[in-house]
């Protein structure tokens, strides 16, 4: 027995048979009958045609698994839920994103994703603590990221203790079960202030997050601590939890009142944060520099290179060959035996990209490569690659950079 499905010619013929006028028997040969009852042979095209219905916006949809062929009907797109509305949550989970530059970053979305995970596990809602002066367009981003409720913190960010007090106020007033923060510099500071001031259970720098257990390293990253019951205050490391990707949630207005400043004795903030200043690129350590220009074997004129680095406002780096030859100090070496960069942009002049060198720029987002070899590893990794001699590009780039530096357009 092969499992082959065979045609049943007699049954097909019987299905086509129709009794016409005057008792004459007709066979309708043109269209395939809708059902061939005991047919064991599939006709995939016909099945597909029967399951296809016109959908919303003129797109055809295929309705799989419809019980009987020809029964697929048009499902109107309106009846499908566009947003999820959590009316009466059984519990509340708070998330405190950083809102760096007043927008929801990727890390912030991950924190909301983790909060969503906990809330969905207990049929709860996610509350987001956001600054009072949050732009309106960020509310859409918040609802897409899975926020159900919004709580507003006082606008000024210059006093971390006051911010932490406001967070703790909302935590207590809303009766939330957990509060999640990012383990970013600001988030870590805020979480610890809240945990200590409120006497809450705390776990920082969580690397594995699930509803069953949270895991964070301890003992100098040689051991890990596994806690089954989720602590009240938690901070998560970046890229450990996926952001929420489901249907957007509807943000429901709450009637909780913000902390009344007048009622409580205001402890005058003794800490005041100033405006952040960018570091001097020339003296920054390579590991911290935001923009690095590095020289490789394709560069021979290091005077022009140094001028170029200064004109571009970058931090100088170098490959191993250049450091070995003594053209650049050893501190400038990028790569496995040198420094691992955390820069936003890396301009590689005459560097082909040995694997050890590429290790050092693994975290860099934007790489510009100037190299004579089209097939170099650095060119493959670059977002802008220029196949030219670095030695010839450098003077032109220096000239242009100096011009732009004098009269910056745009």
């Amino acid at each position: 027995m092969t499992g082959r499905i065979r045609r049943a010619p007699f049954a097909e013929r019987a299905a086509r048979r129709q009794t016409g006028r005057g008792g004459r028997v007709r066979f309708v040969m043109g269209t395939t009958p809708a059902v061939v009852l005991d047919s064991r042979r599939r006709d995939p095209r016909a099945e597909r045609a029967r399951q296809t219905v016109p959908g919303a916006a003129g797109r055809r949809r295929i309705i799989w698994g419809s019980a009987r062929p020809g029964q697929a009907t048009v499902v109107s797109g309106v009846s499908a839920p566009r947003t999820i509305r959590v009316e009466d949550p059984a519990m509340l989970v708070l998330a405190v994103p950083d809102f760096e530059e007043m927008r929801l970053s990727r890390f912030d979305r991950q924190i909301l994703g983790a909060a969503r995970l906990v809330a969905d596990g207990g049929k709860g809602a996610v509350g987001v603590l956001c600054p009072a002066d949050l732009p309106e367009d960020q509310r859409v981003a918040l609802s897409q990221a899975g926020a159900d409720r919004l709580f507003f913190l006082p606008a000024g960010r210059s006093d971390p203790a006051q911010q932490a007090r406001a967070v703790l106020h909302w935590f207590r007033a809303s009766g939330a079960a957990h509060i999640l923060l990012p383990e970013s510099p600001d988030g870590a500071d805020r979480a610890r202030r809240v945990a200590v001031a409120g006497g809450c259970g705390f776990m920082g720098g969580i690397q594995a997050f699930s509803l069953r257990a949270v895991i964070a390293p301890c003992h100098a990253m040689r051991r890990e601590r596994v806690v089954q019951a989720l602590p009240q205050v938690m901070t998560l490391e970046e890229d450990r939890v996926a952001a929420y990707a489901g249907l957007p949630h509807e943000i429901v207005q709450t009637d909780w009142q913000p902390e009344d400043v007048a009622e409580k004795p205001v402890i005058n903030g003794r800490v005041r944060l100033g405006e952040a200043i960018a570091g001097d690129p020339a003296s920054l350590p390579l590991a911290e520099a935001p923009f690095v220009v590095a020289a490789g074997n394709g560069v021979s004129d290091f005077t022009t290179f140094a001028e170029l680095v200064r004109a571009l406002g970058a931090t100088p780096g170098a490959s191993r060959v250049v450091c070995d030859a003594g053209y650049m100090p050893r501190q400038a070496q990028v790569g496995a035996s040198g420094t691992v960069l955390d820069a936003a942009c890396y301009l590689a002049m005459g560097i082909s990209g040995a694997p050890q060198h590429l290790q050092g720029i693994g975290r860099v987002e934007n790489i510009i490569a100037v190299n004579t070899d089209l097939h170099a590893a650095m060119v493959a990794r670059a977002s802008l690659a220029i196949i030219a001699d670095a030695q010839e590009v450098m003077p032109a780039l220096l000239r242009l950079a100096q011009q732009e530096g004098e009269n910056p357009c745009v």
Binding site: S105, R192, F202, C218, H219, I277, A344, L374
Partner: protein, 262 residues
């Protein structure tokens, strides 16, 4: 003005042997910027590791006994010791311990118990103005932020400063200073009421690497070789590079790194 530096018994993450914590060496560097009158304080047993810390420039280290193991206690004991030594108005700690629960809560607990201000991730001290009586008036420190960004912080009155994990000055190691340092056991009298328990400690087991989401790196890898200029003239190449940098908010017209803190 006396400045106290909190020291802990660290563990080398590679070998597992006792080793000084880097951020606490940075803390000693910060304390030396503030004052010449330094005292180290350690909660726990007396170890030879304290001599290593002292070699970075501490003449005296007080060792406070710890009856029960737990991080919650360290903050309480330190606060009690600071109450007993009223002439100390600045405590400098590391970023977090390495060798215990490593939660980084101790500076915040001490500050909360004493009602002091607390600043984390301090990279350098800019200025201190002393009031009469030796207590600090207004102090300006720099807080380290990613990618070389520094944020000035102004503090009034007594405070706890937590040094940054990686950025900071490492003072010279002088072995003779470490040998000559006075390391004494001190009983801090009455220890105030303990803080609430920190919640379940949980199960401790060997660390293993946990998965990370890959989008960040994968995105950049896919982005590669999107734009290749083959054999352009030097001027064309320079224009392309400058334009690309401009898109990233970098380049010759100044404001480098302001836009790329995240």
């Amino acid at each position: 003005m006396r400045v106290a530096v909190a020291l802990s018994c660290g563990v080398d993450s590679l070998s597992g042997r006792a080793a000084p914590v880097l951020s606490e060496i940075h803390a000693i560097g910060l304390a030396r910027q503030l004052s010449a009158d330094l005292v180290g304080v350690h909660v726990g047993a007396q170890t030879s590791l304290l001599r290593d810390y002292a070699a970075y420039g501490l003449n005296r280290i007080d060792v406070l006994p710890q009856d029960e193991v737990g991080t919650g206690d360290v903050g309480t004991i330190l606060a009690a010791w600071l109450r007993a030594n009223a002439d100390i108005s600045i405590l400098i700690t590391g970023h977090k311990a390495s060798g215990a629960l490593d939660s980084g809560l101790v500076p915040f607990e001490v500050a909360h118990a004493l009602g002091w201000a607390v600043v984390s991730d301090v990279a350098a001290v800019v200025a201190v103005s002393q009031q009469d009586g030796g207590s600090p008036g207004t102090m300006q420190v720099l807080q380290a932020r990613p990618r070389g960004v520094r944020r000035p912080v102004f503090i009034d009155g007594p405070c706890v400063l937590a040094a940054h994990e990686r950025t900071g000055t490492v003072p010279t190691y002088i072995h003779a200073v470490g040998r000559a340092a006075q390391i004494e056991g001190v009983h801090p009298g009455v220890v105030a009421e303990g803080l609430e328990p920190e919640g379940p400690v949980g199960e401790i087991r060997p660390w293993r690497a946990r998965p990370r989401l890959m989008n960040g790196v994968a995105d950049t890898a896919r982005q590669g070789s999107a734009n290749v200029l083959v054999a352009p003239s030097p001027d064309e190449a320079a224009r392309a590079i400058i334009d690309h940098l401009r898109q990233l908010g970098l380049g010759p017209s100044g404001s480098a790194s302001r836009n790329v803190t995240q």
